[in-house]
Symmetry: C2
Subunit: 151 residues, 2 copies
């Protein structure tokens, strides 16, 4: 879908993905080598009482789920940034994540009539329906060719 | 270093790391499979005129550089979140990244005297000294044992 097909209030939900312990450890060993992400034994004495996924692993899992849902993927021209990310609850081995996404702001580009900027609010949910992470992104999206000609 | 050793205004700079084309493509193939991150030929016709690193690759490279600098790593008890992330300039194959980090806020925990929350402002620089990304993180840091007893 194009910029013009995603008005404020449009929402969708992604597929679900499980994070297995081995993946959690592999990701964190490369990108976030803190013991409560990489060592199940040592993690028992951490504030989390056991192994938890790196928050960056949760973020990237959410992002790939969103891309794979293919709502705005083909119109994407990149992203200027991200706001208000909060890691609300630990993600543990075997948790299954999915993402609820809602358009909260749309702004046609003033200088470039072929694109606009869309702000998406995300809630990442686990298999119990609990929010584990929330965040906002902005994405530059191509306009529908006929729409940009008309604006 | 502990929470108490990192007052507002404390700053440090990380080591530098180069992002090679093969790494950029490998990361994006798994986590951000958009053609301007994965296909050098097709990327020439993108708004960026060539292959650029996923912004998440830049973020994780910055984070691992920060962890490896070992300033607050051992006191870390995790992070509540991240704010105001902006991808300012493309990162291209061969670019060398380093991070300037500054403490902008410190807040001892009211309920848990053994820890505090520290806010860090980050500027990721390329080899030309240009800012390619800025963002803020909050990190929960353990207090120095004598400091928490005294507070």
């Amino acid at each position: 879908m194009y910029f013009d097909d995603l008005p404020v209030g449009y929402s969708f939900e992604t597929a679900e993905r499980e994070l297995a312990e081995a993946e959690i450890i592999a990701f964190a060993s490369q990108w976030d080598p803190q013991f409560f992400h990489t060592d199940p034994e040592a993690a028992k004495s951490s504030p989390y009482g056991g192994l938890i996924a790196s928050g960056y692993h949760t973020l990237l899992t959410a992002f790939t789920l969103e891309l794979a849902s293919n709502v705005w993927t083909e119109a994407s021209m990149g992203s200027p940034g991200m706001d208000a990310l909060r890691w609300l609850r630990p993600v543990r081995p075997g948790d299954r994540l999915r993402v609820r996404v809602e358009v909260t702001e749309t702004r046609p580009s003033r200088s470039k009539p072929d694109r606009g900027i869309t702000r998406f609010a995300h809630t990442v949910l686990n298999q119990h329906g609990e929010a584990v992470m929330t965040y906002e992104t902005m994405v530059i999206l191509a306009r529908r060719p006929d729409a940009s000609a008309a604006s």
